[in-house]
Subunit: 352 residues, 2 copies
DNA sequence: AGTCTTTGCACCATCGATTGTGCAAACAAG
DNA sequence: CTTGTTTGCACAATCGATGGTGCAAAGACT
């Protein structure tokens, strides 16, 4: 077993082996060697040694010195849902293509935890932070600001730095209209038959609700307050709301605008508890896309947010110097029932 | 704006402010101060200063000195799927509860990328690496081994270090049996009507196939080779396989064992292309659980792998000194159609 | 041959925290 | 009052890479 085993080679090891100084080795291996007028032959020798000894730079040492780490952070509410996991997948691809290392962490929609998590990432000297779906983006902003960390909001906007979010108003309108139009003309939906469940008092929910109500008024002529049921994002709270409605009316509303796929899981839980109902007349619109949900036994119209578009835009905006804290809207897409869209995974090849 | 803004406080700053030496400050703030016989009053003073100046240790500096980073890595094939995203979610909770920081990265099932990614993580001096679903776990092992990094395999086993995986044989048996038994006695499934699609030549697929074939032979008396269609994991390859079958036979097999939820997406894509088929007689078993898939218009029996159990076991095993490279089997769970299980998200509270 | 310029590289401080060691002051024992 | 012990902390080396500065040797020029 060669000496190369067991401990990583450092520039000092290579310096001894090559007969050059550590700084020369460093310069050669980090690309600044031309600027330092190192001979090509010296560089070649060192590169060779680095190769055979499998040298890779210690990022902590480099980061300590340069106060940059090569890490780019993504702060998510949760991992376990197709919207956010595709966010992670897309984010990772972008970061890796820039030659940096993604670090994706979730903070459970808890403002306190969001700040704590950001602090932790900061303690690793991350270079940039993408704040996605944060409950308190401006709180996270504070902690970034005090250390001069570049950051940007995604999915839910803040007021201090730029935000890249879905056009939730337009999406809410599209989805609501699609639900209404899905009913045949001879059995049109009444205003009190179209409910919105899920979400809470955040920007996205408010905008979707605004779109929902506007379209209801335009197309159905009325928009009763009681049809808005912001139950939060927990599946079980959504389930309880459906239970309560069902208890009271003996059925679900014919038209359902579900605020997210997580809330939609609450609807599934409700349905699992009512195995003999067939929900024949039901039309569901869900603000999020999940391929399996699209093929459920009742019509499910979905909104797919343009994750790729949002991430791309966010990277563009964050590169600008000190950009204005404006909101960039990215148009989402309406997805008809029984549609299997491709996603970030399709970009990967499958080795067989 | 107080001086605390703009740049982070270091132990040197606090050392000046408190009149103590940097080493004293360090000892107080990292908990080793009792061992160093620092007076309680000195410690209190320093803790106070640290608090008001929002001191947090620079992890890169600490890591450089101690050659530990506080980072624990999880290497995934992909993020964007409920199985792996729940893996990430669960992993993260465990790591955070140990006071460390999770770093989750995906490597697209590509052996080369798996090794490269591990190298990158190593360059950040991660403390442990969990290798999940790797195509070449032993390749990753090599790179970990040379630097003495603790690691463990999950989901797909290697031969060099312990592995914690699903009991895929038993799971394959359960799922196959459940599919067969789902057909009424008067219209029993014939051996050539039960196909397995998806997966490839990895340990998990082989074991599932072994279970599948064993049960077919036991219950149906035969087990034709042609019924095994390992199409890889890409949704589109699975779709093409379904397409081809349909082309040839004018219908799908009545019984379908789909090797993963990603492959199942291939089935959806196929179905989207055949909108007028109703697939009335179809029974699908899927080796993975997705709540939405469970409620599709045909019976879908699923296997939920015990992610929480696997992660917990993996943490136990990795704590043992130099454990044997044995395989730990974790039993998966059979999930009947129309079942909405709770997941890692339910452990989070929802603030309203 | 003497001066000036360029080439090629070595030296050393530095980033922030950790940790082994040394040592004065306070206290105890004789 | 002297010697020995404990308390409480400061000092300084160290982790690995970076980058400013300095300087000898080689080449150019007069």
């Amino acid at each position: 077993m060669t000496k190369s085993s067991k401990k990583k080679a450092t520039i000092y090891d290579l310096s001894v082996l090559s007969g050059s100084s550590p700084s020369t080795v460093s310069a050669v291996l980090n690309g600044t060697w031309q600027k330092r007028r190192i001979k090509e032959s010296t560089a070649a020798l060192i590169r060779d040694l680095a190769e055979t000894h499998q040298y890779t730079a210690n990022r902590q040492a480099r980061g300590l010195r340069s106060s940059r780490s090569g890490l780019i952070g993504l702060l998510l509410p949760v991992h376990d849902n197709r919207y956010f996991s595709s966010m992670a997948q897309t984010f990772e691809a972008h970061v890796r293509s820039k030659g940096q290392c993604p670090i994706v962490v979730s903070a459970s929609r808890d403002p306190e935890e969001e700040r704590k998590t950001a602090e932790t990432l900061i303690s690793y000297s991350i270079d940039e932070l993408f704040i996605c779906g944060a409950t308190d983006p401006d709180g996270v902003h504070e902690v970034c600001e005090t250390v001069g960390l570049k950051h940007i909001n995604i999915d839910l906007p803040g007021t201090k730095v730029p935000s890249v979010i879905s056009d939730n108003y337009e999406g809410g309108r599209m989805l609501t209209e699609a639900i209404i139009r899905h009913f045949p003309a001879d059995q049109p939906l009444r205003p009190d038959e179209l409910y919105l469940f899920g979400g809470r008092d955040d920007h996205a929910s408010r905008e979707r609700i605004r779109g929902f109500r506007a379209v209801k008024r335009e197309l159905l002529g009325d928009d009763p307050d009681g049809c808005i049921q912001p139950t939060g994002y927990a599946p079980n709270n959504a389930r309880l709301a459906f239970e309560a409605f069902y208890e009271k009316h003996g059925k679900l509303p014919r038209g359902l605008f579900v605020n997210s796929s997580i809330n939609f899981e609450g609807l599934l839980r409700f349905m699992a508890g009512h195995p003999h109902e067939n929900f024949a007349d039901l039309v569901v619109g869900c603000y999020d896309y999940d391929p399996f949900a699209s093929f459920l036994p009742f019509p499910v119209i979905m909104i797919r947010q343009d994750v790729e578009g949002m991430i791309t835009k966010a990277f563009e905006v964050i590169e600008e110097g000190r950009p204005q804290p404006r909101i960039h809207l990215i148009s989402p897409e309406l997805v008809q029932p029984r549609t299997a869209l491709t996603g970030p995974l399709d970009a990967l090849r499958d080795i067989d």
